[in-house]
């Protein structure tokens, strides 16, 4: 039987089995796993089984739910994962009930090896993506919530206060063709640039080396929600707007 174990540092606080009912996690005592900490919301998160997978869902908590190091809204859990809420963490033990959770035999769901390039039609594509999701390799953010990458100007002279990143490449500089237009004497035409790639947004150098979170970047750096970018007297926050 799969189970969740609430831990505070090395101490075991409480252990609950995962059944058909969702396991509630939060500060309110009527949760299955009550967590006595002010950083934890009353109803912070819940864990349940869906389509044979073990899923954790954040209930719009103030300080967030983390799986291992990653902040998640919804994520598939695997045996040995840790869910972090505040300073407590919850160990995931899915070892006892792997068939129900679909963790074994996931290779069986994969299509046979394909060497030749092929195109999937719409139905095959849907099936394959569903299969891939069921494999539960690393499902995280719910696709239903659209996230808009945005640069918010905190200080410095620019033509707008906010820029939504819509292009593959966003140029920051004095150039009249730049998306984020810097104003003022002695500003470079091309100060820095942001490249949208499959796994996220990367800030890279232009004529200047931008700083991210107080340190100069060594090369293109993947931006995380809330990162602070500084270049040529301009300070901006990179955020995902919901």
């Amino acid at each position: 039987m799969a189970k969740l174990t609430l831990m505070f540092e090395d101490k075991l606080v409480k252990e609950v089995p995962i059944g058909s009912r969702p396991v509630g996690i939060g500060r309110s005592p009527d949760n299955d796993l009550p967590v006595d900490n002010l950083a934890v919301s009353n109803y912070h998160a819940r864990v349940y089984v869906e389509a044979g997978r073990l899923v954790v869902e954040d209930l719009d908590s103030l300080n967030g739910t983390f799986v291992n190091d990653l902040r998640v809204e919804r994520a598939t859990l695997h045996d040995g994962d840790s869910i972090w809420v505040g300073k407590h963490h919850i160990k995931v033990d899915a070892s006892g009930d792997t068939t129900a959770l679909g963790d074994t035999g996931k290779k069986g769901a994969v299509a046979p090896r394909i060497n030749e390039t092929m195109v999937l039609d719409t139905k095959a594509r849907r099936d394959m993506l569903q299969q891939a999701a069921a494999m539960g390799e690393r499902t995280q953010f719910a696709a239903s919530r659209l996230k808009v990458p945005t640069l918010v100007v905190l200080s410095g002279k620019t033509d707008q206060k906010e820029y939504v990143l819509t292009n593959k490449l966003t140029v920051i500089g004095k150039s009249k063709m730049a998306t984020v237009k810097l104003k003022g004497w002695f500003k470079p035409q091309l100060a820095a640039q942001v490249n949208q790639r499959d796994d996220g947004y990367y800030v890279g150098p232009g004529d200047k080396v931008p700083w991210v979170n107080g340190a100069p970047i060594a090369g293109p750096l993947r931006l995380n929600d809330g990162d602070m970018i500084e270049v040529c007297g301009l300070r901006m926050n990179f955020i995902f707007r919901e």
Binding site: V110, A111, R113, I114, N115, E116, T117, M118, V119, L120, D121, R125, M128, L129, A132, A133, M135, E137, R138, T139, Q140, F141, A143, N167, K168, L169, V171, S175, M177, A178, Q189, L190, Q193, N195, R197, D198, D199, Y202, G204, P205, G206, D207, G219, P220
Partner: protein
């Protein structure tokens, strides 16, 4: 801005036929690359058809700007971006129609990545898993998204980029020319800066050679023809599992600030005075 370009396609070290195809139309600053798929020789048919159709349409629209634009696209786009995107829609239709007319060609398809430079504006139109990169300030930036299953899984957070590289499903495409009568084309416009280097390449390059190696080669070799040869060599040295194609386009330096303006002005004056010698 001065533009220099060069390209190479090679069968690789494993395959016996080359289904990649590219065309550089220097007077138009038009660059088109395609990677075909399909049994027998049909991959070659598809990629050649893709390249030919795109080039032909772009040439025709130069003479006849009133030609129909295919597909929905934002009004703010430049004429050339709309034309290039239309051309890719047409290429899809050509391949689809050909496959319908010849039952032995069923299942053939092709990727296409096309770039058209007009002054400082770069237009890109793209379908499939060939790629366009821009090397700028030493950083290689990807201008296209692969329409492959693994890339989609990375975008959805199901796979990490490293897992995608090891995946056995890398060849599965979600979008390619010729599979359906209608297609969605990715198009975009960018502004070029002096010393930018544009690279179009097939997956035979990107699966064999890492991005830092690509960036290093483009920086080390100023001649576009030699740079593309070197990239193809690298892919073959590292396995050459697929056909490999690279097209390199190098943008010249631009006049910057008052100092070069003065120098440029002085040079012009010197030419007017009829002084001999090189540039």
């Amino acid at each position: 801005m001065e533009i220099a370009s060069g390209g190479v396609t090679n069968v690789g070290r494993v395959r016996t036929n080359n289904e990649d195809c590219f065309r550089i139309v220097e007077p138009m600053n038009l660059y088109v690359l395609s990677d075909g798929m399909g049994g027998e020789a049909h991959g070659e048919v598809a990629s050649a058809l893709a390249v030919e159709t795109v080039v032909k349409h772009c040439q025709e629209t130069e003479n006849d700007p009133a030609m129909t634009i295919f597909g929905d696209m934002p009004a703010v786009w430049s004429e050339k971006t709309k034309r290039l995107s239309s051309a890719v829609h047409l290429a899809n239709k050509s391949i689809y129609d050909s496959a319908q007319a010849h039952p032995d060609q069923r299942g053939m398809g092709a990727t296409v990545t096309a770039a058209w430079i007009d002054g400082t504006r770069l237009s890109i139109a793209h379908v499939g898993d060939s790629r366009a990169y821009l090397l700028r300030s030493g950083t290689l930036q990807q201008l296209t998204s692969d329409h492959s299953l693994v890339a989609e899984q990375v975008r959805r957070g199901i796979l990490t980029p490293a897992e995608a590289e090891r995946s056995e499903m890398q060849s599965v495409l979600l979008r390619a020319l010729g599979a359906h009568p209608e297609i969605e084309v990715d198009s975009e416009e960018h502004t070029l800066f002096g010393h930018d280097v544009l690279l179009l390449c097939s997956d035979g390059l990107t699966r064999m050679v890492t991005e830092p190696e690509i960036a290093g080669t483009l920086q080390a070799e100023p001649d576009p023809a030699k740079a593309s040869e070197r990239l193809v060599e690298l892919a073959n040295e590292q396995g050459g599992a697929d056909n490999v194609t690279a097209v390199v386009v190098r943008i010249g330096g631009e006049a910057k600030g008052w100092f070069s303006w003065l120098r440029g002005g002085a040079r012009k004056t010197a030419q007017k005075n009829g002084s001999a010698g090189g540039k």
